[in-house]
Symmetry: C2
Subunit: 196 residues, 2 copies
């Protein structure tokens, strides 16, 4: 097998996440395929643990050789890190408006996104990679791109626009997920475990 | 072994939950002991699934014969059921004030608590029992008893007071947890599986 034939399955039902990861993978000459499995998620304050357990379960539930799972969260400083690892649930239930209601106008609006990408393969090799992006919560939602809390997150770099105002290629220059996937792709290309 | 010697371990680190369950157990002549384990919780919108997986894990992690685990949630109608199964996390991060901020004054304030008590034993017998209590979210927190969202929950029965204004014996007349544990204790006394 050549380097450019390295294939990794990304266990996710989230098309947006898959698209972002696939764009990063392309830069590394790696093929990433989507494995649309129900994610097995445990409750934990640690994204790395949630992602690692999910990767191992996805591996066991499928017949693929190499699998990654990702967990991400939106951490708002003035809310003690809420919604954190439960961002997808909070988004479904209270949405971006819920976060804006919870923040008083005078609250510090610092926030960050974090992502953990966990890898598991048939040779029982596992690893986990993280990425974070610092920024702030906007006063109002802006933009229609991306997903989740993207419309209310303004990264420190990016000219004051929210993630939802950026195309994937631009978001990927800063994003937590792109950073975590980049670390993973570098690692697997360098270490390339069990590639005959 | 006689009926009154039936012993069940309740896997919880929450002293408040244990105390409530022990009060109900006493009415049934059942002994409940606390097993202070780290709870293995999966992410799910279904309390029964979370409790059942936790019970099975607690059983595997201990050497007890009979174990119960409980999962509870506070479901606010105007917030699409938020915080639901993630109530403990939401309580730690945004507290009762967070829920009050999310609700507009004119929103319907209907809410309910739900509890799922899951049982697992060394004979591989498993079962799950639920309880719910309807009520509303108060305009302000009241009372110092109980725990979690008790200070902002007014059950339909109870004279307009919050759960945090009631002693355990009174809260147990209405509470979701007392109902679920009562169903469980009735079941185990009647069926009494594997009691020689």
């Amino acid at each position: 097998m050549k380097d450019d034939e390295l294939i990794v399955c990304f266990a996710t039902k989230n098309e947006g996440k898959y698209h972002e990861a696939a764009c990063v993978a392309a830069e590394f000459g790696i093929t990433i395929t989507q494995l649309s499995l129900e994610k097995h998620e445990i409750q934990s304050d640690d994204l790395r643990i949630i992602a690692s357990v999910a990767a191992q379960h996805a591996f066991q539930a499928s017949s693929v050789e190499r699998v990654v799972a990702e967990d991400a969260g939106f951490f708002v400083e003035a809310l003690n890190g809420f919604p954190g690892p439960y961002s997808a649930y909070a988004y479904r239930k209270i949405g971006v408006d819920g976060i804006l209601k919870l923040l008083q106008v005078n609250d510090r609006r610092n926030a960050f996104f974090a992502s953990a990408v966990a890898y598991y393969d048939k040779w029982k090799c596992s690893a986990c990679f993280e990425g974070t992006v610092q920024g702030r919560v906007s006063l109002l939602p802006k933009g229609l791109l991306g997903f989740g809390f993207d419309p209310i997150f303004i990264p420190c770099e990016g000219g004051g626009r929210t993630f939802a105002e950026m195309e994937t290629s631009e978001k990927n220059k800063f994003s937590h997920r792109a950073q975590a996937f980049s670390k993973f792709f570098k690692w697997i290309k360098t270490n390339h475990p069990h590639n005959d």
